[in-house]
C-alpha cells in the first residue's frame, strides 16, 4: 500500500512517524517507572494497564497476617496449584516480629525467584506466566518462576518424517525447543541468546550457536539483523525470515526452516546459527546453500552408498521437475526431428485430435495439477481424498477420452508432479514448481533456445544469490573441492573430517583422520 503512493508523500508520512515515535516514548517512560514503596500505588498502576483484562488476577493477602501483599498473575499461564502450595501457604503462616525481604524469599519454596523493580519488568514477568508478588513498603516485587500453560506433546514432524533416526520434533514452546537442543549438544559452548521482539506480541526469540565453531562474524551479523527488526508481532518464523534474508525478491528460500532438533543440531555442529522462535515449531537455520535444500536427514541416517544414490536421484528429478514439461513442449513444437521415429509416431497419434497447441495444453494441465494439489492440501483428509479421486478422473481419464489433452502430456505432468515432491523441503519444491511456468512459456515461444535461456536466467540468479553472505551455490561456485564431499556424494562419516568450508572455516577440523574401520583396526602396527 505504501509503495503505490510512495512518491511525493514523504513529508506527511515522516511527520506521522515522528508523532508515533513520540507517543511510543511517552508510553515507555511510563513503563520504565520504578516500583514505588507504596503497594496501593503499584497495584493501581498495574490495574490501570490491565483494565478490562479479566484473566489478570490480583490476589490480595497478608504475609504473616501482618504485611499486606498482592500476588498478580494471569489465569491460565501460572501454575496455580504450585503457587498455592509453595508460596501462599508458607507466607500466610505466622512470622517472627521483624522479618525482612530475605526472610520472605526464604519461605517461598520455589527455585526461581527474581526481584523486579520496574513496572515494565513486572509486566514482562506476568505475561511470561510468572506470578509477581508485590508487598507493602517494598519497592521490589518478587517474580516467582512457576509458569504453566498448555502445550503439545513432542511428536514426529509430519513434514519431515524419516524411517531411521530420531522421531522427536520441535513444538511451539521455546523453552522445550532449547531444551531439545541442549539435550543433544551438552557442551557449555552451545550458546542460546534470547531476545524479545514484536511490539505487541513480545515474542521470545533464541539465537543458538556453537561457540568456537560458528564464525563470530556470522553470529554478530545475525544478531544485528535480528535487532534491526521492528514489527508489531511475530507469529511464525517466516516473519523473521522475510525481514532478515539477503534477497527478498528471490523465489528460493535463503534460510532453512526445520522442525527437527537433529537437523538443527547437525547444522549447529557445522558452524551455522539457529534461530528459535516461541510459538512455532519451525526454527531457522542460516546460512544455507542450495544443496542443503536438496538434502534430507535420511541421507545421513542411511548407509552412505544409499544416501549418495538417493541424493543423485533427487538432483535428477529436480531438473526434471524444473524442465520436464518445457522440454516436452519445445521438442514437440519445434524440434520434431529430435524424437526417435517410433516415439514421434506414438506421440503424434495421441496428439492427433487435440485441439490445443502443446504449450496451451501444458499450461492447462500444469495449472490443473497445481490447483488439485492446493485443493487437496488445504482440505480435511476425508474430503482431500475425494478431491484427488475427482482430479485423477478428470485430468487422467476424462480429459484424454474427451480428446482435450493427450496422454503423453498427462504423463509428463504426472512425472514432473512427482519429481517436484521429491524435493525434501516444501519451500524449494514450490519454488521450482512456480519457476516451471515461465520456463514453459519461454520454451513455447522459442523452443529449446527459450529453454536454455530460462535455464541460464535461473542459474544466473542462483549464482548471484547469497545467504548471509555465503554464496548460495557453494561449494560448486565458488569451487571448494573439500566441501564437495557432501554435495557430489554423501561421504562416509570417517571421511568427513572437515566442516564445510562456507561455515566451518573458522574451525575446520571436525574429527581426526584415519578412522576408517576394518577388521584389523586397533591391532598393533595399525
Amino acid at each position: 500500500m505504501g509503495k503505490t503512493n510512495g512518491f511525493g508523500s514523504r513529508g506527511p508520512r515522516s511527520n506521522q512517524r515522528e508523532a508515533e515515535r513520540f507517543a511510543h516514548q511517552e508510553e515507555n517512560r511510563q513503563l520504565d517507572q520504578a516500583l514505588s514503596a507504596n503497594l496501593a500505588e503499584n497495584v493501581q498502576a498495574l490495574q490501570r494497564l490491565y483494565t478490562r483484562c479479566s484473566d489478570v488476577i490480583f490476589h490480595e493477602f497478608c504475609i504473616g497476617n501482618r504485611m499486606e501483599a498482592v500476588l498478580v498473575y494471569i489465569d491460565g499461564l501460572a501454575h496455580i496449584e504450585e503457587v498455592d502450595q509453595h508460596v501462599l501457604a508458607p507466607l500466610q503462616q505466622d512470622f517472627p516480629m521483624d522479618f525482612t525481604l530475605a526472610d520472605i524469599r526464604g519461605k517461598i519454596a520455589v527455585s526461581s525467584i527474581k526481584p523486579v523493580d520496574t513496572i515494565v519488568k513486572v509486566l514482562e514477568e506476568i505475561s511470561g506466566g510468572n506470578p509477581v508478588l508485590l508487598m507493602e513498603r517494598e519497592p521490589h516485587g518478587l517474580a516467582i518462576g512457576l509458569p504453566k500453560w498448555e502445550k503439545r506433546a513432542i511428536d514426529e514432524p509430519s513434514a519431515e518424517s524419516v524411517l531411521r533416526g530420531p522421531r522427536e520434533g520441535f513444538i511451539e514452546s521455546l523453552r522445550t525447543n532449547t531444551a531439545l537442543l541442549r539435550r543433544k549438544i551438552r557442551t557449555p559452548h552451545l550458546k542460546i541468546v534470547t531476545m524479545s521482539m514484536g511490539k505487541y506480541t513480545s515474542t521470545q526469540i533464541a539465537l543458538a550457536y556453537l561457540e568456537g565453531v560458528a564464525a563470530p562474524s556470522l553470529v554478530e551479523e545475525m544478531t544485528s539483523r535480528l535487532q534491526r527488526i521492528e514489527i508489531d508481532g511475530i507469529l511464525e518464523s517466516v516473519y523473521i525470515e522475510e525481514l532478515i534474508e539477503d534477497n527478498p525478491f528471490s523465489p528460493f528460500p535463503q534460510l532453512l526452516s526445520t522442525e527437527r532438533p537433529d537437523v538443527a543440531s547437525a547444522y549447529l555442529l557445522e558452524g551455522h546459527v539457529v534461530v528459535l522462535i516461541d510459538g512455532t515449531p519451525s526454527v531457522l537455520i542460516a546460512p544455507i546453500t542450495f544443496y542443503s535444500l536438496l538434502q534430507s536427514p535420511e541421507d545421513y541416517y542411511e548407509r552412505y552408498v544409499v544416501g549418495t544414490a538417493i541424493r543423485w536421484l533427487r538432483y535428477l528429478f529436480f531438473l526434471i521437475s524444473l524442465l520436464g514439461p518445457s522440454f516436452y513442449v519445445a521438442v514437440i513444437t519445434y524440434h520434431q526431428e529430435m524424437i526417435p521415429n517410433a516415439l514421434l509416431i506414438t506421440m503424434a497419434r495421441s496428439r492427433e485430435q487435440i485441439p490445443f497447441p502443446a504449450i496451451v495444453e501444458a499450461l492447462l494441465m500444469e495449472s490443473m495439477f497445481e490447483a488439485l494439489r492446493e485443493a487437496g492440501a488445504r482440505l480435511p483428509k476425508q474430503i482431500g481424498t475425494a478431491v484427488s479421486i475427482v482430479g485423477a478422473l478428470v485430468i487422467g481419464q476424462a480429459a484424454i477420452a474427451a480428446g482435450i489433452v493427450s496422454a503423453p502430456m498427462v504423463m509428463v505432468v504426472a512425472i514432473t508432479g512427482v519429481a517436484s515432491f521429491m524435493a525434501p523441503r516444501f519451500t524449494v519444491g514450490i519454488a521450482i514448481r512456480l519457476l516451471r511456468f515461465p520456463v514453459m512459456v519461454l520454451a513455447g515461444f522459442l523452443g529449446l533456445l527459450g529453454l536454455i535461456m530460462g535455464g541460464i536466467l535461473i542459474l544466473n540468479h542462483l549464482f548471484k544469490l547469497r545467504s548471509f553472505g555465503a554464496p548460495y551455490m557453494a561449494p560448486l561456485a565458488p569451487m571448494q573441492w573439500r566441501s564437495l564431499n557432501d554435495v557430489l556424494w554423501r561421504a562416509p562419516r570417517w571421511l568427513m573430517t572437515k566442516r564445510p568450508h562456507m561455515t566451518g572455516a573458522w574451525n575446520p577440523r571436525r574429527q581426526p583422520h584415519g578412522q576408517r574401520p576394518g577388521p584389523h583396526k586397533g591391532e598393533s602396527g595399525d
Partner: protein, 392 residues
C-alpha cells in the same frame, strides 16, 4: 533508480517474447511425417518423387477412453504420394500440393533410387539431399531394381512401414548398410565410385504378400550405376571394405565329405599399398577369429594338425570370395569401390597427386595380393562330431 533500470531491460524482453509469439511453431498434427522417399525417372525424363507418409489414424483408444495404446497392427498405416518435377527441388516443392500437411523430411529413414535413375546419374538429387538442412544424413539409401515407387507401395506385414523394414534389413549387416552421408562421401571421394545396396521385390504368391529385400549391390562410377553385384560378390566387397560383422563360412575340408562351418567373431581388413618404381601394388591383409558352429567332417578339432589344415582351408575360402568380388570390380567394372585410392593417397600423397589423372588405368592394372589369416579360437567342447558324420 535501479528498479527503473531493471524495468527498462525487462519490459522490451517480455514484449519481444509475447508479441512475436510462437509464429514458427508446428504441432505434430500439422506435419506430414515422411518416413521414406523414392526417386524415379519417368518416361518423359522428369523426376518423380514418391513419399511414404505415415498415416496417423486417430487411435481407437481415444474414443474408448482408456489409457491403452493402439492395438492395431503394423500394416496399412501409410499413404503414398508422388509429384513430378524437372529437378529434385522442383518435385519436392510440388509435393506440398498433394499433401494436406506440412512436408517434414526430418524423420525420413530411407531413400530409394529407381534403377533407371541410378543409371542416368544420382548427382542431382544427391546435391539437394545433402544441401537441404532437413533430410537426415543418416537415412539409408537403396537402389531398386523396379521403380522406387513400387517398392514404397509395399506394406510389410511385420514392420511399421516399408522404410522400417528396409532399414532394419540393412542394419542386419548381411549386405551393405550405406547411409546418405557415406554415399555422398563415396561419390565425392577420390575413387569416385560408390556402392549402394540393391533392393528387389519378391513377388507375392497367393499365400504371401510381396516384399522387398536386399539382394546384392549396385555399383556406381562417377555418379552413374554401371552394374550390379550378386550376393556372394557383395560379401567379398564387405570383406574388402572392412565391413564384415557377421559371417558364416562353410568349407568342405580336403579329405572326406563332411562340412565345417565357422562363425565370425572378429575380423579386420587392412589395405597396404606399395609403389615400387612405376609398379603399383596392394596387399590386402585380413585377420579373423572364428567359432566353429558345425562339424560333420572327419576332423578332430582337438588335434592341432587338423585345426591348422582347417584354418588353411578357411583362408583359401575367404580369399576366393574376395577374388571373386575383386575380379568383377577391377577388371569388368573398373570401379574402385573399395576405396583403394584413399589408401594410396594416405601412404603416398605425392605420387598420388602426380598420378591421380590416370587412376582408372592404374586401378585396373593394380596387382592385388590377398593374405588371409584365420584363427579358430573356440572349437567347441565336442571335438569330433559325436554323431554319425556323412549322414544327411
Amino acid at each position: 533508480m535501479e528498479a527503473r533500470r531493471t524495468w527498462i531491460v525487462v519490459i522490451p524482453i517480455v514484449s519481444v517474447l509475447l508479441l512475436s509469439g510462437c509464429w514458427d511453431r508446428t504441432e505434430v498434427n500439422d506435419l506430414a511425417i515422411l518416413t521414406a522417399g523414392g526417386l524415379d525417372l519417368t518416361e518423359d525424363r522428369k523426376l518423380e518423387l514418391s513419399v511414404k507418409q505415415y498415416l496417423i489414424s486417430p487411435s481407437s483408444s481415444e474414443q474408448s477412453g482408456s489409457f491403452s495404446s493402439d492395438t492395431g497392427g503394423g500394416s496399412g498405416k501409410s499413404v503414398l504420394r508422388s509429384s513430378r518435377g524437372v529437378s529434385m527441388a522442383d518435385a519436392e516443392s510440388h509435393l506440398q500440393q498433394v499433401l494436406s500437411r506440412k512436408v517434414f523430411w526430418g524423420q525420413d529413414e530411407v531413400f530409394v533410387f529407381g534403377q533407371r535413375l541410378a543409371k542416368e546419374g544420382l548427382a542431382e538429387p544427391m546435391e539437394f539431399l545433402t544441401r537441404h538442412p532437413i533430410p537426415r544424413e543418416r537415412a539409408n539409401v537403396f537402389v531398386s531394381q523396379s521403380p522406387a515407387k513400387e517398392v514404397l507401395e509395399l506394406d510389410p506385414p511385420i514392420e511399421r512401414s516399408v522404410s522400417q523394414a528396409l532399414r532394419k534389413m540393412a542394419e542386419n549387416e548381411t549386405g551393405l548398410n550405406i547411409t546418405m552421408k557415406e554415399l555422398a562421401e563415396m561419390m565425392a571421394g577420390r575413387s569416385r565410385s560408390a556402392v549402394i545396396p540393391w533392393v528387389e521385390i519378391k513377388p507375392g504368391d497367393g499365400k504371401q504378400a510381396a516384399f522387398a529385400h536386399i539382394n546384392g549391390t549396385a555399383v556406381l562410377k562417377n555418379g552413374k550405376m554401371i552394374g550390379r553385384m550378386n550376393d556372394a560378390e557383395t560379401r567379398g566387397i564387405m570383406w574388402l571394405r572392412n565391413e564384415v560383422k557377421k559371417a558364416t563360412v562353410t568349407v568342405s575340408p580336403g579329405k572326406g565329405k563332411g562340412l565345417v562351418s565357422l562363425q565370425l567373431l572378429r575380423s579386420r581388413t587392412e589395405l597396404i599399398p606399395h609403389i615400387e618404381g612405376s609398379k603399383w601394388s596392394l596387399t590386402v591383409r585380413i585377420e579373423t577369429r572364428d567359432d566353429i558352429i558345425e562339424n560333420t567332417s572327419e576332423f578332430d578339432l582337438s588335434l592341432p594338425d587338423h585345426m591348422n589344415e582347417l584354418e588353411r582351408e578357411l583362408e583359401d575360402d575367404i580369399k576366393r570370395r574376395i577374388q571373386m568380388a575383386l575380379r568383377r570390380a577391377q577388371k569388368e567394372m573398373k570401379s574402385d569401390i573399395f576405396n583403394f585410392a584413399d589408401a594410396f593417397y594416405r601412404k603416398y600423397p605425392r605420387e598420388w597427386n602426380r598420378n591421380k589423372g590416370r587412376w582408372d588405368d592404374l586401378y585396373s592394372n593394380l596387382e592385388i595380393n590377398v593374405q588371409a589369416k584365420v584363427k579358430v579360437v573356440r572349437p567347441g567342447l565336442t571335438n569330433k562330431s559325436i554323431f554319425k558324420p556323412e549322414q544327411r
